[in-house]
Amino acid sequence: MTRKRGKTGYLLVIPGALYLLAFFALPFYSLIATSLYDPSGSDFRGYEMTYAFGNFVDAITDYWQPLLRSLAYGGVATVLCLVLGYVLAYAIAFKAGRWKILMLVLVIAPFFTSFLVRTLSWKLLLADDGFIVNTLQFLQILGDDGRLLATPVAVIAGLTYNFLPFMVLPLFASLDRVDYRLIEASGDLYANPITTFFKVTWPLSLPGVVSGTLLTFIPAVGDYINAELLGNTNTRMIGNVIQSLFTDANDYPAAAALSVILMTMILALVLVYVRRAGTEELL
Amino acid sequence: MSQVAEPNQQRASEDAAGAGGGSGLRLRALTKEFATFTAVRSLDLEVPSGSFFALLGPSGCGKTTTLRMIAGLESPTSGTIELAGRDITHAKPYQRPVNTVFQSYALFPHLDIAENVAFGLRRRRQKDVDEQVRQMLDLVELSSQSRKKPAQLSGGQQQRVALARALINKPEVLLLDEPLGALDLKLRRAMQIELKRIQTEVGLTFIHVTHDQEEAMTMADTVAVMNGGVIEQMGAPAELYENPRSTFVANFLGQSNLIAGSVVSRSADITTVDMHGIAVSVPANRTHTDSDRGWVGIRPEKVLIGEVGEQLDAPGNTIPGGVVSDVSFVGVSTAYLVRMPWGQELQVFSQNTGRVRIFAVGDAVELSWRPEYAFLLDHAQDASAGAAL
């Protein structure tokens, strides 16, 4: 389609763009500035801009553990989401028949109960004398004094659970656009179901895989609700640290430096990932 | 010759608002350039009102672009468009008495059939819309479907809605861009008859773009063959087929044998050509070159095939020394490829009347044709232009 030139385009985009300039771009600039403030300042006395690049060094030496942990938890949760989400999205797209819409609604439905209320439910489910732990202990999968709550398993399970819809929806959108006759054609051309999946279905669903993994990974890495409610001090993620540096310790420069580091790492990972996956249609 | 086609005799004159001007649609030096690419090149065209005009041509030759300029959906780079004597080159689409049947139908998915059909009338605040819609749906035999949504109709039904939606406005010109392209053969034939019936009944000017030559030839009063942004030739279907003026038209419409030759003499009504040592004659009004070299053209079904020495009932051009190199039996006819002494293979379609025997590969044969069926084309043109498109 041909795009119209003229001033209407500007009139339409300017309100939204200005809003984001003021409340996204400018704040991000401000975050970078804050990360370079003199760390000895405080909320009350005010901060001084000293281009203290040392803040970044300090942040990394002090908090490399939660940083790496966040990436690891986020990564594992994303892979789990991909596996579970792919099965679900595939079932909805190709196998659900007339129940397609209903299943889709059910995927989004949990999304509408408060994130926190749902996570509290997990806390109950994974509790030490809860049904799940008891069953696992009975099956000897978990030792008698083994527990789930306050372990990395619980945190990753929580992350996987909470971000699953972000994976299913783009995957479904991608798979739904695949012509099922292509899959049948592949079978017709002597491919067994597994070959068909890896040679036809998977490549055709790649755009959905890329956007789904990004939409899951990015919020999962920055999340701290699951780590806080389902984990313990050894499962602290970078979100917990940034949050408490801001609100409890009032150490703005350190918190800002960590935020900038997190953003940079995510951007770098995303760029490498998108380039390797060869999908540019995200933007 | 006849650049202007005969107006349709049966047209109902009270419908076409442009009848007063009587001049129909006229394109002058119409040009459309996209960046560096010229899609339509200085096109001149006159379509008398009330006629069924078909635009034929290979993919990408600029047919859709031409229609879109007439509809006002694309603005020409230069040139003018006149309708009934009025210049509409720069009029907005909604200001022109022209409607389009889109190839993809473009029915409004959120409106039911009746509202789709009523759309144009409502925009122009016409009276008794419901009554007109009812009549129009009767005409296209969709009265029972009026409350359905487009997605609930079959392809053929949707196509008729698209037609009704445009027709109800009684435009001076109705543009149809391959409206039958998506239909299967049977439905396509039925819709062709339907379209022709409706056109005759309402007497509007139809400009019909199609890839299907048979469709163009059977439906249209005038056919124009377009190639590379220009009109190669236009005229009545038989005229175009029998007397093509360029190698492109000769090959694009049906098939032709084109044999190189040099002009020996020209008289008032006959051009004599030396064709690899054989003198053949071509009527002067079928001679389309001034140079002394040319392509002698003859349609395969006009070529007679016979045994060596056999007296063929075609006085004039007899070419000896052929050898059958391929035979395919088609049923009503037999198609031969005959290798001539100069190495070229000529196509021959022979009716299976039972009077001539069917030859086998390797048989020595003689070919002949009546001189009045041959035509002579300019040697500068590519003999394979338009073939296999």
Binding site: G9, G16, Y19, L20, S30, L120, L124, V221 | S104
Partner: protein
């Protein structure tokens, strides 16, 4: 028996085929069921009778309708709920309007800075909430607004992160629209404004509605960004966060249950209505 063997063998393979054909669907349903486990807990706990008012133990200990009869036993909860709804509605209205306009600009218009606008609009989606929240906080503090964090700063933040989602949703709908439809309208004597209101808008409307629903749920549910920019104002998620370290009132499960029932009903009704309009 000998006669039975082949037939039972046939039944066996038939059963095997039946199972194989439904394996994927079955697995999908298992995953779907997994997403509903905590929802079931929410519904169950909304009927829970806590051992005592102050009990810190969060487990099912008895059935009662008290929580449903007294949803506002803790007035602070209902207050936070109303505040969340208010912020959600305002954020939805503003972000839907700004985002829809921008989506039209990006799909339909060409202007200098189009690709940078695109980037600006999609960047917030590539940033984790903690980064978005801390950026805003850093700016508010730098602007000397550190003491005035509250309702307005929360609203500003919510509009910001909803905006990108609105643009993406509406843009997808617009880009998927057959542009022949608008040309057909023009061809049928509709002026540009009639074309917009009679054809374009009705066709894009479902996308706008979807974007608005998404905005509301994102805003209503947000905790991380809100928590950094809220000052002393409490939204519903913040209330839940606060009580999760103390005594959890069972009424939060009542709210959770109502929300899921309401939203599923709305979505299903909308879906059924549009299905009646265009049956497959």
């Amino acid at each position: 028996m000998a006669v039975m063997t082949p037939r039972s063998g046939g039944a066996g393979t038939r059963l095997g085929r039946w199972m194989r054909e439904r394996l994927v669907l079955g697995l999908g349903l298992v995953v779907l069921a997994y997403t509903f486990v905590p929802i079931a807990v929410v519904v169950l706990m909304s009927f829970n009778k806590p051992v005592s008012e102050q009990s810190k133990i969060y487990k099912f200990s008895g059935f009662t309708l008290d929580n449903w009869k007294n949803p506002c036993a803790d007035p602070a909860m209902c207050e936070s709920l109303l505040r969340s709804i208010e912020i959600g509605l305002l954020a939805t209205v503003v972000s839907t309007i700004l985002g829809t306009l921008a989506a039209f600009a990006l799909v339909r218009h060409d202007f200098i800075g189009r690709s940078s606008s695109n980037l600006l609009i999609f960047m917030p989606m590539a940033a984790p909430e903690i980064v978005l929240g801390s950026s805003l906080l850093a700016m508010f503090v730098a602007a000397g607004l550190g003491g005035q964090l509250g309702f307005w700063t929360i609203l500003v933040a919510h509009i910001m992160f909803c905006l990108s989602f609105v643009v993406v949703t509406v843009r997808a709908r617009l880009a998927g629209m057959d542009d022949n439809l608008e040309q057909a309208a023009m061809d049928l004597y509709a002026t540009p404004s009639q074309t917009f209101w009679r054809v374009t808008f009705p066709l894009v409307f479902p996308g706008i509605l979807g974007a608005a629903l998404l905005s509301f749920s994102l805003s209503f549910d947000d905790f991380i960004i809100t928590n950094l920019n809220s000052g002393n104002t409490t939204t519903f998620p913040m209330y839940v966060w606060g009580v999760s370290r103390r005594t959890v009132p069972m009424q939060i499960n009542v709210i959770g249950t109502v929300m899921i029932v309401l939203s599923v009903t709305i979505v299903l009704i909308g879906e059924l209505r549009s299905r009646r309009r265009r049956p497959a």
